[in-house]
């Protein structure tokens, strides 16, 4: 029965085809289910991924804040700002003439290497990125960019992109205070907010570093669609603002700006108390020397000049090509990175006698009439070691005024022993020696005024083999009394000390930022103390005859009421110096550091000055003239506007 058999066959084979059809349906169901999972169930997530694929946040860098100093009394002077750096670029797609011809013309007009550029252009063309902006030359001088503008028609495809670059208007002047910029490192990238990117510049020292957060500002941004390959190519107008129309990427895809552009917020300005004239003068005075000058407004603590020599020009750290110069600065001897006014310590030497006199008068150990006989040397016990006065022939009977004026060591040996180390350190602490002054600049060092506690609890544990060496001996007090031994202070601390004498007994808070509120301590010194010390310091700068000549007479100026105190800080053992017959024969690196602290009483604002010249030998000879010149400059040549006006009107000053 073929028919029957045929029927059966049909059914069987049909069944198998139905199986295949079912398998097919099953397979398509799997596809549908997976599509449901991807598109509906996880659709939002994938939509987000596609958005982040598509959108690129194009950063618009914020211009860094401006740093101002003062000019005279009331003018702001720009110390650091941003200038537009013009980068010369070319877009191969826009070159309407022969590539080679363009390169020749650029060679002639701009003076670049035409062959190198030609290779770069051809490389971009080969990579099918004709819209890539190729750098011809970074930061071209204005003359060159003007020439390019002039010959614009001959240079199709060439244009400039403007970006802000840090400018230090006065170069090396106040350079160390401003600090410098360096590329942000990975650790900082992790710690700082996302505003920083690899390659960004960040403050590395001084004001730039301390006020980084204020100066940095807030970057703007724009959101653009981005193709998988290619990078957005953004042009800027002459002010550095990005063009939005005709935005393309390196392959020439036109890109769309997706979000209203958020313009960058420039960094905040920082206003310094520095007087640019005084700062420049102070630096000029130190020219060729190693040392520091501090000038404070004694009433407010505002730092008017903070000079250190040798210094550096922070511009070197901004330009990309200054590697050799940077290395010179970073490795040079003497150290140019360190600010000697507050980042380095020296024994205060005789300057410390001002503190000792103040402490002794306040503690009642001496009064105006107390005298000690100075035979030129001093012994604690009759047969003990002899401490010499700098004047080996002795000063005879001296009171506190004369002791300060002639810097009699023996007088202060006596006073020191009577005061005792504990009271000395107490007053050093009160007047701000041997500890950080709280200056608003990074990296301030504290220095040290040795104390019983320091020697017995700090030093002794470090030397377990000879504990007897680390007790406080009376001899230590004698050394400390004239600012030697372990005593170490910064020039800034000494300026603080003299400013207390100038302002009538207050400790002020030194500061360079005008925003920092002027802070003043309780009155620490009585009128009587102030009067006596002022008398001594006045006598110190007096020039005879007829008056006896003080150690600081080099700072004397007719008709000025100047306070001064000299100091010589031994930096090596005296024994080394004694090998030499004449002072002039002592090699420079063995000579004492020269100190001079000075104050001006009868002028406004009252200045407190501290000058340190490394290896200057005698404060009176090496440092005092600098202080005198600075004072004369400040009040005469660079007189604050108000004062000059008053003088012109013939009013009394």
């Amino acid at each position: 029965m073929p028919g029957n058999a045929g029927e059966r066959r049909r059914t069987r084979s049909d069944l198998r085809l139905v199986h295949i059809a079912l398998a097919l349906c099953l397979a398509f169901t799997v596809l549908g289910a997976r599509l449901w999972e991807l598109q509906v169930h996880e659709g939002a997530e994938y939509r987000g991924k596609s958005e982040s694929n598509r959108l690129r946040i194009q950063r618009l860098e914020s211009p860094r804040g401006v740093v101002y100093a003062r000019h005279a009394d009331d003018l702001d002077v720009v110390l650091a700002d941003n200038r537009p750096a013009r980068d010369l670029m070319v877009v191969p797609a826009d070159i309407t003439i022969d590539d080679d011809e363009l390169c020749r013309r650029l060679e002639e007009i701009v003076g670049i290497d035409g062959d190198g550029l030609l290779a770069t252009i051809q490389k971009a063309r080969k990579a099918r990125e004709p819209f890539k902006q190729l750098l011809i030359r970074a930061d071209v001088p204005t003359a060159v960019s003007a020439r390019v503008d002039e010959y614009g028609a001959l240079l199709p495809g060439v244009f400039t992109v403007v970006r802000p670059i840090r400018r230090y208007v006065y170069g090396e002047t106040a350079g160390q205070i401003l600090g410098y910029l360096g590329e942000v490192n990975t650790k900082e990238l992790r710690e700082k907010d996302s505003d920083y990117q690899m390659g960004d510049l960040i403050g590395r020292a001084g004001v730039e570093s301390l006020y980084e957060d204020e100066l940095h500002g807030k970057d703007g941004r724009m959101l653009v669609t981005k193709f998988a390959a290619g990078t957005p190519q953004i042009r800027t107008d002459p002010y550095g603002k990005p063009y939005v129309e005709n935005l393309v990427d390196s392959y020439g895809h036109s890109l769309r700006v997706e979000e209203e552009i958020r313009q960058p917020v420039p960094g905040k300005s920082v206003h310094l108390t520095l007087d640019i004239g005084l700062q420049a003068k102070a630096e000029a005075l130190l020219e060729g020397e190693t040392g520091a000058i501090v000038a404070l407004n004694a009433d407010t603590g505002a730092v008017l000049a903070l000079a250190s020599s040798p210094g550096y020009d922070p511009t070197v750290f901004v330009t990309r090509s200054g590697n050799r110069e940077r290395l010179d600065i970073l490795r040079g001897k003497p150290n140019r990175m360190m600010h000697r006014a507050y980042q380095e310590v020296y024994p205060p030497g005789s300057v410390f006698k001002v503190l000792l006199a103040a402490a002794a008068l306040e503690e009642g150990v001496i009064d105006a009439d107390t005298t000690h006989y100075c035979p030129g040397k001093f012994r604690i016990t009759p047969n003990g070691r002899a401490w010499h006065c700098w004047n080996r022939s002795g000063h005879g009977d001296v009171n506190v005024v004369d002791a300060l004026a002639f810097s009699c060591d023996v007088f202060f040996y006596h006073v020191g022993l009577e005061l005792g180390v504990d009271r000395i350190t107490k007053w050093a602490h009160k007047l701000g020696l041997g500890e950080q002054t709280g200056l608003d600049l990074p990296g301030e060092v504290s220095g040290l005024i040795p104390s019983r506690d320091w020697k017995e609890n700090r030093l002794r544990p470090q030397h377990p083999n000879e504990p007897w060496e680390y007790r406080w001996y009376p001899g230590d007090t004698v050394n400390l009394a004239i600012g030697q031994g372990a005593a170490a202070t910064t020039p800034l601390q000494n300026a603080l000390l003299i400013s207390a004498i100038v302002n009538g007994g207050y400790r002020v808070q030194p500061h360079v930022n005008r925003e920092t509120p002027a802070a003043k301590s309780q009155r620490l010194l009585s009128d009587r103390t102030i009067g006596l010390i002022r008398a001594g310091l006045t006598k110190c700068v007096e020039k005879g005859p007829p008056a006896p000549t003080g150690t600081g007479h080099e700072a004397y100026m007719e008709g000025w009421h100047i306070l001064g105190k000299t100091g010589s800080a031994q930096n090596v053992s005296l024994a080394h110096q004694e090998d030499y017959e004449n002072e002039e024969d002592i090699p420079k690196e063995l000579r004492d550091h020269a100190w001079f602290v000075a104050g001006v009483l009868d002028r406004e604002p009252p200045l407190a000055i501290c000058v340190l010249v490394e290896h200057g030998h005698h404060g009176g000879a090496a440092a005092a003239p600098l202080a005198r010149d600075l004072i004369a400059y400040f009040y005469d040549e660079w007189a604050p506007v108000e004062m000059r006006l008053a003088r012109n009107r013939g009013e009394p000053q």
Binding site: S13, L17, L24, G32, R47, N53, F227
Partner: protein, 389 residues
């Protein structure tokens, strides 16, 4: 002579325009709809690429040419085609060998024969040659397929071209032959238990095959297991394709609004990953409509196979439907991250002339089988499909 008797070539009027009056308009309608969708999607894909002739225009040329070929084949008596099976098979073995010897190297494989103006990719059409060969073979042996040696011989038949294609290397195409053989065996009435044994052997052979894969092929398999291990490397396609499909959501981003494809995050989006573009722009709804169209087309193909008057037609139809099904399933499964990335184009949508021709030839074969439906119902011989006990 209009009504043929048996399979003897002499009895067949090989070419007859009369067939055109018996076209399956349902099938053709589906083909036109899918082809139209293909042009539309390619038009969108063309946005991001600047080429002298846009893809959709070229694709239209391929379609017109394909239609011509399909109708030509529809006019042929499929029994005549099946009878040529052994000859076609041998010719293609020769062509594949020639490719290995003197072929043109492109994209890491030796797949093209340079024929002057046009490149010719024999492996593409080998799939069809194997289908015809198998249809001839199964029709020839009839119920003997239930015997194991005949069953095994099937695999010998596909192994020869398979190995040659694998050597090129073109893993995707080589793998197509497997499902075709299995589906045709099943339709031809082989014993199910033979198929199960075969599947077990196949599973056992996986480790051996793994050793013979090229490094890039292994990498692709590995990335399907964990695509995020190397998101910029071999996992890139899979991840970007999944993002593209997924970001389409329920309703899609809108025609010509796709960003993933437009912004070139997904390479090859006009060829192997065209479905991603469709899914991105038309969403779940659009993808499912296209899936449904494909399913209806394939089921219609199976119906035609089922309606064939004798075994050769059924087998030919089954083979062709399996080929198209494999391409649709695997291609879409790749774009949605279910299978490793392999070059398997999607019929009607993926840009490309060779595969369009394969597709339209398959459609032509189905039309041809359909045209002969019910014409030799009375014929007792040869006995077509054998009852399965």
């Amino acid at each position: 002579m209009r009504r043929g008797r048996g399979l003897g070539a002499a009895n067949i009027r090989a070419f007859s325009l009369w067939n055109l009056r018996r076209l399956d308009w349902a099938l053709l309608g589906l083909v036109f709809v899918l082809a139209f969708i293909g042009f539309a999607v390619l038009y969108s894909a063309n946005r991001s690429v600047s080429v002298s002739t846009p893809y959709y225009a070229k694709q239209a040329t391929f379609f017109v040419f394909g239609c011509f070929v399909a109708l030509l084949i529809a006019c042929l008596d499929y029994r005549f085609i099946v009878s040529l099976g052994p000859m076609i098979y041998v010719v293609f073995l020769g062509l594949l060998s020639a490719v290995l010897a003197v072929g043109h190297v492109a994209k890491g494989g030796r797949r093209w024969l340079d024929l002057g103006i046009v490149g010719f990719q024999p492996s593409e059409y080998t799939k069809l040659a194997v289908i015809i060969m198998l249809a001839w073979y199964f029709a020839k042996i009839g119920r003997r397929i239930q015997r194991f040696p005949y069953f095994v011989l099937t695999f010998v038949i596909i192994a020869a071209p398979g190995a040659l294609i694998f050597k090129q290397p073109d893993l995707g195409t080589a793998l197509t032959l497997g499902p075709i053989a299995v589906a045709m065996l099943y339709a031809a009435g082989c014993r199910t238990r033979h198929l199960i044994i075969c599947a077990l052997l196949g599973a056992a052979a996986v480790p051996v095959a793994w050793g013979h894969l090229e490094d890039y092929q292994r990498e692709r398999v590995m990335t399907i297991i964990n695509p995020s291990a190397d998101p910029q490397g071999s996992g890139y396609h899979t991840i970007q394709s999944m993002i593209t499909v997924g970001s389409g959501g329920l309703n899609g981003k809108g025609y010509m609004q796709g960003t993933q494809t437009y912004l070139s995050y997904l390479p090859e989006h006009h060829t192997d990953f065209i479905f991603s573009l469709l899914a991105e722009e038309f969403g779940f709804v659009g993808s499912c409509i296209v899936l449904a169209l494909f399913l209806v087309l394939l089921l219609r193909g199976l119906q035609i196979a089922r309606g064939a008057s004798e075994a050769g037609g059924t087998l030919l139809g089954t083979g062709v439907v399996t080929l198209l099904s494999f391409h649709v399933f695997v291609n879409i499964a790749i774009t949605i991250g279910l299978l490793p990335v392999t070059g398997i184009p999607l019929p009607f949508l993926s840009y490309g002339g060779s595969f369009y021709l394969t597709t339209m030839t398959s459609i032509g074969l189905l039309l041809s089988v359909n045209a002969r439906k019910g014409l030799f119902e009375f014929s007792a011989r040869p006995p077509a499909l054998v009852p399965v006990r």
